[in-house]
Structure formats: structure tokens, C-alpha cells
């Protein structure tokens, strides 16, 4: 049997296919849109077709915000447990996780003995410190979201974004433009603001190295660097930071069907 992990996040849906030896053989990502069920179902159909598989050839474990919409899943698991499991695929010695997704961010601490989650903290009430914040700010700066990190690292004097609210931070960015701040410095300020907020949350539960940074925002090199500064230690980022939830779900489905 193979296994599929399906992570339906608020912004992106991620699917991972593992073979019988738990090796990742394929993956897919798409926008979640408003119709989680359809997007997840379509990705699943596509992967089965591309690998000449039928439904009965795979275990399916769903996770993420939309996990309960997946009616073809064998089981469901929260994204907290899924990410913790997924990062250990790449880094078996991982002790902590910071996951910044589209509409939430979370910090997770795992046991050094068992690798199981022992504590976590989530922010899902506020867009600040999430991918949505970056999206809004990219729009305000007229910079593509995948370039805002690289742009930020050119700054020698990051602007100060004091507001923790996305809406007010956008107003602050406009004020900074009016004061003549450069796009580079503002971009740096925006990325720093996310890092500061998430690091504060992570410190409250005592994250430690080896810390794995995942989620869509982990693709942003500036947020990673600023997080390292805030936390005071180096952090690592897997090759596919967006896929750790789906990967963890697939791995757990193997464990459940031993």
C-alpha cells in the first residue's frame, strides 16, 4: 500500500504521495479557494491517474484547516501532529517547529525521547504573523510575494513597523512611503515584523534547536534570517517547506495501518 497525505490549508492545498517504503514519490500544490472539498478531490484524482492507482491502493490521511471536508480520507489528524511528524522525515533530531501558513502560524515543541508533540501555540485569530500579512504587504509595495524576502535582505536600515494589526500596518507602510522610506527598507520592516511576532509566540513555549521552519512563508529567506536573529540560534528549512503537513499526515497513516 501507498499513502497519501492531504493538507488543506486556508490558502493552499498540498498533497504528498509516499510509496510502500515511505519514500516521497510525488506531490502537488494548488490554491484552496472557497471549495476545499473540490480542490482536494481534484488533486487526489489527478495523482491517482498519473500513477495508475485506484482508491484502494492508498491510505489517505487528511489534515489542515479543511481536513474534515475530505470524505474519502481513511482518517484525519490535526496539522499540529502532522507537521511534527513531517519535519522529522527530513530532520530526525528536530525538537521544534515553526509553521507559518496562509492564515495562521504555529510553534510546536517535540519530546527529545519520543518525537511526539509536547506543547504547541497557535495564532489563528489575527492575520499579523501569517502569510496573509505578507500578501497584503506585497500588494501595498507592488512587489511579487516571492520577491519580497530577497528585496528585504538588501536593506541596511529596516523600517520600523510598530503595529501588530495587518490593516494598520498597511496604513503605516503608506505613511512610510509618504516620509520617503525606500521600498527595500519597508520590505525589510515587514519581514521583521512577522519574525518578531512569531518568535514571541515560539519563545513562550520554549522552542529549542533543532528548529525546523516550514509552511509557505518558510520560502521567504528574509523571514528565516530575522527569525534566527530573534530566537538567537540557527534554524533549518526543509527542501519542500510547504509539504511537511501533508507528508506527516501520510506517514501517520502508515503508522495507523501497521
Amino acid at each position: 500500500m501507498k499513502a497519501v497525505g492531504l493538507d488543506i490549508g486556508s490558502l493552499a492545498t498540498k498533497l504528498v504521495l509516499l510509496d510502500e517504503n515511505k519514500k516521497m514519490i510525488d506531490w502537488k500544490v494548488n490554491r484552496s479557494t472557497y471549495d476545499f472539498k473540490r480542490v482536494g478531490g481534484d488533486l487526489f484524482k489527478d495523482i491517482l491517474k498519473e500513477h495508475n492507482l485506484s482508491r484502494s491502493d492508498v491510505f489517505v490521511m487528511s489534515t489542515g484547516y479543511g481536513r474534515n471536508t475530505v470524505d474519502f480520507a481513511n482518517d484525519r489528524i490535526t496539522e499540529i501532529t502532522a507537521h511534527a511528524k513531517g519535519v522529522q522525515y527530513f530532520y530526525p533530531d528536530a525538537r521544534s517547529v515553526i509553521d507559518i501558513g496562509g492564515q495562521d502560524s504555529k510553534a510546536i515543541v517535540m519530546s527529545s525521547k519520543t518525537g511526539n508533540v509536547i506543547d504547541f501555540q497557535m495564532n489563528d485569530k489575527c492575520a499579523a504573523g501569517t502569510g496573509r500579512f505578507l500578501e497584503v504587504m506585497s500588494h501595498a509595495l507592488e512587489v511579487p510575494i516571492n520577491e519580497i524576502g530577497t528585496l528585504a535582505l538588501k536593506s541596511n536600515s529596516p523600517a520600523s513597523i510598530s503595529s501588530t494589526c495587518t490593516v494598520f500596518a498597511e496604513s503605516e507602510v503608506i505613511s512610510l512611503f509618504a516620509q520617503g522610506s525606500s521600498k527595500i527598507d519597508i520590505a525589510a520592516g515587514i519581514n521583521k515584523s512577522i519574525a518578531r511576532r512569531v518568535a514571541g509566540m515560539a519563545k513562550r513555549i520554549g522552542v529549542e534547536p533543532l528548529l525546523v521552519f516550514c509552511g509557505g512563508v518558510a520560502k521567504n529567506i528574509a523571514v528565516k534570517e530575522y527569525l534566527e536573529t530573534e530566537l538567537g540560534f540557527e534554524i533549518v528549512r526543509p527542501e519542500y517547506p510547504q509539504l511537511t503537513g501533508a507528508l506527516g499526515a501520510a506517514l501517520i497513516s502508515f503508522d495507523n495501518h501497521k
Binding site: 490535526t78 496539522e79 499540529i80 501532529t81 508533540v117 506543547d119 504547541f120 497557535m122
Partner: protein, 346 residues
């Protein structure tokens, strides 16, 4: 006896015996998570305790006609300072602020007794009644009977006979209805429970629930639907209302003061160390799988306690979940992932 005296108390330090001795029904005010707080928000900023704003909203909209007055009892600072607003906006014929002490030393005891005497004087003057020691002692005895019954019934939660939500609803009811009626209700409930065998799924995760005032039974039901059973708690709509007894046949006001100053400490009072000692005692007596600490949004006293609790519980090695909760039922859905993840950790 049909007239009621409302109690606005974020702890449970209001001496109900005095109200009963005044031939009034003590009725604790609870929030209503199905309403919004527009009127209250005109008086209090929205980043203040959402529960107390909810009570103010109900007050402004109008309390029941059979409520003839209000006692606000010193709990947390946020609720204390609302007395003036209630005085202006919800003015009832009798209003009193009872300064239940923050500390638990000898001076505080004297101070508490003096303030209870002042409450008695004002009740006597206002309602033209006499509150005698005999009446106070009779009601101390009545309240003790209620506490004993509640404690006995509480045990059926850990025996997996009584749902946490059923017990929560019962405690809440006892805090609002006529106490003789409450006594009858508890006696009947206990008799029914004695005949029952455990019927609650043993696979549910057994939880000690603590935190701010949790007065919406639907919240407990939400936890049950996610695979938890509250077998014990450290709540004012729970153990803190009945865990200990008052001395009987002594000076009644001294007995009432001693009862309140020696019962388990809330987050609204200090030292936090003593509050944690009570939680440790509960952990020794009940086999719980984890602890859930719920802070009502902007409840500063529970927020202050959390880092200390977190540190201590980590040392003990028991799974611990801390959440902040809004005061509306829609928000319970958003907490689902946290609760499910906690269930997975356990």
C-alpha cells in the same frame, strides 16, 4: 420568598448566607454568549473582560423585575471598577459593593467581617428586616448541606456516571435558584445517580478544567464532543463553590469569613502558589490525562497565572493546554484544532 438579590462576582466570595438571612434569593449573574455587547461597549473598551461586559449589557437591557438589588463582590480589578457604571446605568433600589479581601491574613479577616456587618446594616435598613445570628447560623447549615451534596455528586464525574456538562449545569442552577429548591434538586439528583452504573465512554480523555469563569455549559459540551470528559475542575462554577465547609454554631460572621478565606484560591486572588497547591491536590486524588486552562479573552488574572502554571505542570510532566476564548459560541469551532491536537498529544 420571591425577591432576588443579584450577585456580580467573578469569584465566589459573596456570603449567600447573609442574603438568605435577609429573606432574599441570592442569584448569581451569568453571561449570555448568544448576545452582543453594543450597549456595554459604549461604556467599556472592547479589550476589557468580555464576560463582565456581557453582564453589563444584560444589566443595561434590563434585569428581571423580581431582582431588587445587586451586590458586586470584589473579584478581579476589571469587574470591581464596573460598580460605578452599574450604579449609573442599571440602578436597582439596593446596591452594595462588598470588599472581599485580596489577601488572606488576619487584618483581611477583620476587614472582611466589618464589611459584611456593613452589608447587614444596609440590608436591614433598606428592607426593614432584622438579620439575626440565629438566621445566619441556619443558613450556614443550609449552605453546608448544599456543599456536601455537590461534592458527593461531583464524584460521579470521575466514576464516568455523570457528564461534566451535566454537573456544570447543576452547579450553575444551584447558584441561581432558591436554596431550599436547590437542596431538593441535589437530593433527588444524588438518589438518581446512586442507582446508575457507569455509562460514559471510558475512552474519553479525562480532564481537569481550570481557568476564568466558565459559565456556558455549551463550552463543556464542545469539549465532550471532541473526546474529553471533565472529571474534576478548579472553577467557580465548580469545586470552588463547594469544596470546603463553614464552621457551624460559632460566631456566624467569623465562620463565613473563615470559610471564604480558607477555601481554594482563585486566579483573582493571590498567592498563585496556593492556587497551584489545590490543583496539585486534585492531581493526587484524580487520575487525569491532562489539564485545560481556559482564559476568557482579556482575563488578566488567569493570564498572569498561566506562566507559573505552565512551568509547574511541565515539571510534573502532565499534558497542559492553555487557550484564550472569546465569549461567543462561534469561536468554539475555531478552537477545535487546538483541542483535537491536545487530544492527540494525550
Amino acid at each position: 420568598m420571591t425577591k432576588k438579590l443579584a450577585i456580580f462576582d467573578s469569584s465566589v466570595d459573596t456570603p449567600e448566607e447573609i442574603i438568605l438571612a435577609a429573606d432574599l434569593i441570592p442569584m448569581r449573574l451569568f453571561g449570555d454568549p448568544t448576545i452582543t455587547n453594543e450597549n456595554a461597549d459604549a461604556h467599556i473598551p472592547p479589550n476589557h473582560c468580555v464576560w463582565s461586559r456581557n453582564l453589563l449589557e444584560q444589566g443595561i437591557q434590563g434585569l428581571d423585575e423580581d431582582i431588587v438589588g445587586l451586590i458586586t463582590t470584589h473579584g478581579c480589578d476589571c469587574t470591581n471598577r464596573q460598580f460605578d457604571i452599574w450604579f449609573e446605568c442599571v440602578n436597582k433600589e439596593f446596591m452594595f459593593f462588598l470588599n472581599a479581601p485580596l489577601k488572606r491574613d488576619k487584618i483581611s479577616r477583620k476587614f472582611f467581617i466589618k464589611d459584611m456587618k456593613e452589608l447587614i446594616t444596609q440590608l436591614e435598613d433598606h428592607f426593614g428586616i432584622q438579620i439575626t445570628d440565629k438566621k445566619l447560623n441556619e443558613n450556614i447549615s443550609l449552605m453546608n448541606q448544599i456543599r456536601r451534596l455537590l461534592k458527593e455528586i461531583s464524584e460521579f464525574r470521575s466514576k464516568m456516571v455523570l457528564k461534566g456538562s451535566e454537573f456544570h449545569n447543576l452547579v450553575k442552577k444551584v447558584q441561581t435558584i432558591d436554596k431550599q429548591e436547590a437542596l431538593q434538586l441535589l437530593e433527588n439528583t444524588l438518589n438518581d445517580l446512586k442507582d446508575k452504573t457507569p455509562s460514559i465512554d471510558e475512552g474519553l480523555k479525562k480532564i481537569l478544567l481550570t481557568g476564568s469563569i466558565i459559565d456556558d455549559t455549551e463550552f463543556i459540551k464542545t469539549l465532550e464532543n471532541l473526546g474529553f470528559q471533565i472529571i474534576i475542575d478548579d472553577l467557580c462554577v465548580g469545586t470552588r463553590y463547594f469544596w470546603t465547609l463553614a464552621e457551624e454554631d460559632n460566631d456566624p460572621l467569623e465562620a463565613i469569613a473563615d470559610y471564604h478565606l480558607n477555601k481554594p484560591v482563585y486566579s483573582t486572588k493571590f498567592p498563585s502558589k496556593e492556587r497551584f497547591t489545590f490543583i496539585e491536590e486534585l492531581l493526587d486524588s484524580y487520575q487525569v490525562d491532562g489539564i485545560i486552562n481556559v482564559a476568557q479573552k482579556f482575563c488578566e488574572s488567569v493570564l498572569y497565572d498561566h506562566p507559573f502554571m505552565n512551568k509547574k505542570l511541565k515539571e510534573i510532566g502532565i499534558p497542559y493546554l492553555f487557550i484564550e476564548k472569546e465569549y461567543n459560541r462561534e469561536s468554539y469551532k475555531q478552537l477545535k484544532t487546538r483541542f483535537e491536537a491536545f487530544g492527540e498529544i494525550i
